[in-house]
Each structure stands twice: as structure tokens, then as C-alpha cells.
Amino acid sequence: MSEKKGLLKRLAEGQVWTSIFRGGGVPKSRRQRMMVVLNSVFLHLHPVRLPKHAVKLKFTWCMGGLSFFLFLILTISGILLMFYYRPTIEYAYTDIIDLAEQVPFGIMREIHRWGAHAMVITVWLHMFRVFMTGSYKPPREFNWAIGVILLLLTLLLSFTGYLLPWDQLAIWAITVGSNMARATPFIGSEGPGAALLAIGDINFVTMASDIRFALIGGRFLGEATLLRFYVLHCIGLPFIIMIFMAVHFWRIRKDGGISTPV
């Protein structure tokens, strides 16, 4: 009791600190270090201990982790962009210009755009590394399949995202993309088989009732299209990808962590 404690140490052992970070103080003992991971909702995505090769950069390349980190960057910067961007044909393009020229620290759009490019690359390389270490083999088959869906969702997020500036790239990409949907067998009005779904002269799969119509909200590109892709990009797809990421992370743990030689 007679010992004088420093301010930091007193804070670290005080009620407030220990109520947030149980255990108190800097984790030095083996037990404390294990408790840190177990007690934190974020850190306990990780196991407490790992095989030593699993923490080496040359094994995982950190690509999965970077993909997740980029997803977080994209979520945050994306939410910020939503404060200025209006998804209408009249304003979309000028709002994008304003984001660079009028908005304080006008690089949020840059971060979002380049981050999206980077995430495609990291997810892509992550898949490559998982293949090369044979980590898709039992018991991780299902998690690989989840991963493929994550790759698909990442690409769809990019696709819906670059439509939003409503520039030349945007409308021609959506023109081409939505016309591909029109060529879907049976449910697209110009797909093989669509002509068979008819009674006499009445066609059921037409320009005003096929999958493209539902996708772009009309027979021609327009306001409805932009709004649809905006909602998909900002709410729909992120929501879905978060669910799949949660499953992905959970399965990594349940499948025994980073794969190891048997």
C-alpha cells in the first residue's frame, strides 16, 4: 500500500478500465494473453493459439485478412459517400464531380474506387493461395464453396458500384450487362427457349415481362434502373456478403483453423 503507483498503472487497474478490459493491465502472462483473445468480441474471431506457420506471411499472404479489411474500408467510405450522392439521372454525375471538388478531403471517392479494385485483386489472390496450399480439401470443401460465393458477390458489388456515377462507362456497362440478362434461356425475352413459352400468338416472356425488365425496372434504362442498382449496391449486396463472410469466418474456426499438413 505504501508503494506509489504511476497514473497509467492506476488507470489500468481502476474500475472503469477493468470493467471494459477484463483482467486489467498489460497482458504479460500466458494466461492473461489467452484471456485477452477470449474476452474480446473482435479478437475472438481468432483462436487463442495457432500453428506457427499460420502466422507467417509467406503462407497466407494475409490476403483473406486484407480482403476483409478492404471490405471494412469500403463500407465506411461508402457510407460517407452516401451523404452527398443522389441516385437520380439529373444529379448523379454532378454529385460525383462535387465529391472530388467541393467536399472537404475530396478523396473519399478515390478511396472507395481504388479500394474496390484492390479488393477484387486480394480476393482473387486469396483464392489462388487457398488453392495452392490445397486448403480446399476435406474438411474445408464447404468453406471453399462459400468463398466462391464471396468472390461472386465481390464482383457483383463492383459491377453495381461503377454504374452509380452514370457516366459513359456506367450506362454502356449496364446496357451490355442487362442485355446479357435478356439472353438468359427461358426467362429472357431473347434467350433460347423463350419463344416456346407461348400460347398461340401470345408470348409470355416479352420485353415487358422478362428478367431484364425486373432487373432494370422497365423496358429502357432510366431512373428506375439507377435507383435499383443503388439500393442493391448500398444495402442489398453488402447485407448478403456480410452474412456469407460471417459463415466463412465461423467455418474457418470450425474446420480446425488454418489448414496444416496432416
Binding site: 481468432h46 509467406k58 495452392m132 480439401k137 462507362l169
Partner: protein, 372 residues
């Protein structure tokens, strides 16, 4: 310098570039023992040494640096949306090298009867996540954030002209990661290139763990014990995906014509590309009878060809060339595997048919939007 550029332009003609890649590919990533023998004889195993890493990197950097002095090449590479492509070329090479380098090291260890590099003695060799992993993560996050900041400050995000429905840009390119898909659209009808083949890619990727029933090589880099699966994956990933993207970015110019990387993008370059369907080949060119009116008779040859390709070829292969594989995989796995592989191979096959004979469709029934 001009001679060098001319050489590169000539070599990057699609027929030459793609044929060269196809031929050399399986000697670099040998799928069978026979190929492996040649792989060793041709000294391709030296590719994955540290020395070749530096040589190839130096060559790549040299190529880019000298290339950038050329205005045509510069205008392609420095287009903001293409910048990640340059990064991708280096990253794909680096990580291919890194994984193969570790794989070959492990193969040597296995040959010598020693444990692989990743071998660990559970549970003694375990490390604590705090601090061993969290500090790596922290440093990675900090460095990567810094990198993203510099990139974002240095390079404005791309934005093209405002949307104009009456004027498609020439060429109208998708972002780089879809250029492989856009390239497929040239050879296949939209329902194939835009719907069926992408779905098959997804299904095929998901099926990998269920098709590859080789237990060996899980949890460590290796090549020797899983030659076939690595060679196939690499072919799909490196050639049919990444190479097509590079072709789409660098070699496709105005009016979607092919241009060499150092060639001027002349929008008036004329290339006669009059396309002919198989039915026209048969009835007009060979039999000189004119196209029959009946759709079924008109397209019967293409249908026979396609049925043969997907129905007769697989059992034939199972009996002959792929006998061992068939026995290892069993009927169900083998069927899925061979259909996926054959479907993937239709892409290069149709590419060649287009380039060599201007063949457009094998089956062409525009009346029902069915073209293959």
C-alpha cells in the same frame, strides 16, 4: 527500338500469342509424368529459383519502363481504370512464383524424406495469437492504409464523359476484371457467354474440392503430388482468366479490333471479318446446294458435332486416354469433371475457329435465339 516494338507487335497477334502460351504452358506446369520429364529436360524447373525471380522481375520492369516511352502503350497503361492491371501483372507473377518456389522446396524435402516446411509438432509448436498474430495484423493494416491513402491522393478516380445513350465510346471496355468475360462475348452468343459459361465457372470452382479426391497436399505448398489439379487450375486461372484480361485490356482497340501494344489505335483500321456459320460452310461452300429451308436439316451437322463432343467424347476418353483418371475418380466425378473441362475448352476451340476460318456459329438458329 522500332524493330523491338515491331517484334512485340507481331508476337502479340492473338494467334501467335495464344498458340505460344498453349504450347509452352503444359511444359511449365506439367500435368503428367511425360510432361514432367520434358519440364526437367527443358530446365523449366529453374523458373522457380530465386535467381530467375530477379531476372524475370527485371525483364518485366524493363519492359514497362521502356514501353512507357511509347505514346500508344502509355495511353493504354496510364488510363486510370487500367492502372490496377499493371499491378495485377506483377502481383500474379510474384505470387505464382512465390507459391511454386515454396512448392518445389517442399517437394525436395519430401523426396529427401524430411518433413515439409509447414510441418509442426502439435501442440508444442503453437504460438499465441496475442501478441504473435495481432501485431502482424496491426502492422499490415497500418501499411496497407498508408498505401491506399497514397494511391488515392496520387491518382484521381476515373470518371468518363456524362452518359450519352447515342454514342458508345470506341472501344467500349468494361472494367478490367470483366474483360475476360467481354472477350468471351466475341466468340459466343450472349446466352452462352453471359449466362451459361459464367454459371459454369461458378459451379466449376465450387466443384473443385469435390472433384479433386487426391488427399495429398493439404495445408502446405506442393506440386509433385498434385500435378494434374494444379496444372488444370493454373490453365483456367492464368490463361483463360488472367491472360484474356490482359489481351482485352492491351490488345483490343477501336471497333474491337486487335492491335499490338505499340500500335497506333486507328479507328479506321479495316479488318475483313465476314463470318460464316457451319451450315453455310457445309451447304454453300462444300455441297454448293444453298441453305435448306428446314431448320433441322440446315443445322443437323452442327448438332451432330456438338452431341458427339459432349456425349461420345467423354466415354471414349474414359476408355482410352483418361483411363487412369476415370478409374481414380469414378463415374459421377468423372462425368462432371469431363463436362466442365470440355465446356471450358469450347472457348479456345471457338477462338481458333474464328481466327482461322471466320467460323461464327456451329449451330445457328436465330429464329429461336439459339446460336452456339
Amino acid at each position: 527500338m522500332e524493330a523491338f516494338k515491331h517484334l512485340i507487335d507481331t508476337l502479340s497477334k492473338p494467334t501467335i500469342l495464344v498458340s505460344f502460351t498453349f504450347i509452352i504452358f503444359f511444359f511449365v506446369f506439367p500435368p503428367t509424368d511425360w510432361f514432367e520429364k520434358w519440364h526437367k529436360k527443358l530446365k523449366f524447373d529453374g523458373l522457380w529459383s530465386v535467381k530467375s525471380f530477379w531476372i524475370i522481375t527485371a525483364l518485366l520492369v524493363g519492359f514497362f519502363v521502356t514501353g512507357l516511352s511509347d505514346p500508344d502503350f502509355r495511353s493504354i497503361m496510364l488510363k486510370p481504370d487500367n492502372v490496377p492491371i499493371a499491378g495485377l501483372i506483377f502481383l500474379v507473377f510474384f505470387f505464382t512464383w512465390l507459391s511454386m518456389h515454396q512448392a518445389y522446396n517442399n517437394d525436395k524435402l519430401i523426396d529427401a524424406g524430411k518433413p515439409v516446411d509447414e510441418q509442426y509438432d502439435a501442440p508444442n509448436d503453437k504460438v499465441l495469437v496475442w501478441p504473435d498474430l495481432v501485431y502482424i495484423e496491426l502492422i499490415t493494416i497500418i501499411l496497407f492504409s498508408a498505401f491506399m491513402l497514397v494511391w488515392s491522393i496520387g491518382l484521381p478516380a476515373p470518371l468518363e464523359e456524362p452518359a450519352n445513350p447515342s454514342e458508345s465510346p470506341n472501344p467500349a471496355k468494361a472494367p478490367w476484371y470483366f474483360l475476360g468475360l467481354q472477350e468471351m462475348l466475341v466468340y459466343f452468343d450472349p446466352w452462352m457467354a453471359g449466362v451459361v459459361l459464367p454459371s459454369l465457372i461458378i459451379v466449376g470452382l465450387m466443384a473443385i474440392p469435390y472433384l479433386d479426391n487426391n488427399k495429398e497436399g493439404s495445408g502446405y505448398y506442393s506440386f509433385k503430388n498434385r500435378k494434374l489439379s494444379i496444372a488444370i487450375f493454373m490453365f483456367g486461372w492464368l490463361v483463360l482468366w488472367n491472360l484474356l484480361i490482359v489481351i482485352g485490356t492491351v490488345l483490343r482497340g477501336p471497333n474491337w479490333n486487335f492491335f499490338g501494344p505499340f500500335e497506333f489505335w486507328d479507328s479506321h483500321k479495316i479488318e475483313a471479318l465476314t463470318n460464316i456459320n457451319l451450315s453455310e460452310f457445309v451447304y454453300v461452300k462444300w455441297l454448293s446446294t444453298g441453305l435448306p429451308g428446314n431448320i433441322l436439316i440446315r443445322e443437323i451437322w452442327g448438332m451432330i458435332l456438338l452431341l458427339g463432343y459432349f456425349m461420345i467424347l467423354p466415354p471414349l476418353l474414359a476408355k482410352t486416354w483418361l483411363k487412369n483418371l476415370f478409374e481414380r475418380l469414378g463415374v459421377a466425378r468423372y462425368s462432371l469433371f469431363i463436362v466442365l473441362i470440355l465446356a471450358a475448352l469450347t472457348l479456345p476451340i471457338k477462338m481458333y475457329l474464328r481466327w482461322m476460318f471466320n467460323l461464327k456459329y456451329i449451330i445457328s438458329i436465330p429464329e429461336y435465339f439459339f446460336n452456339f
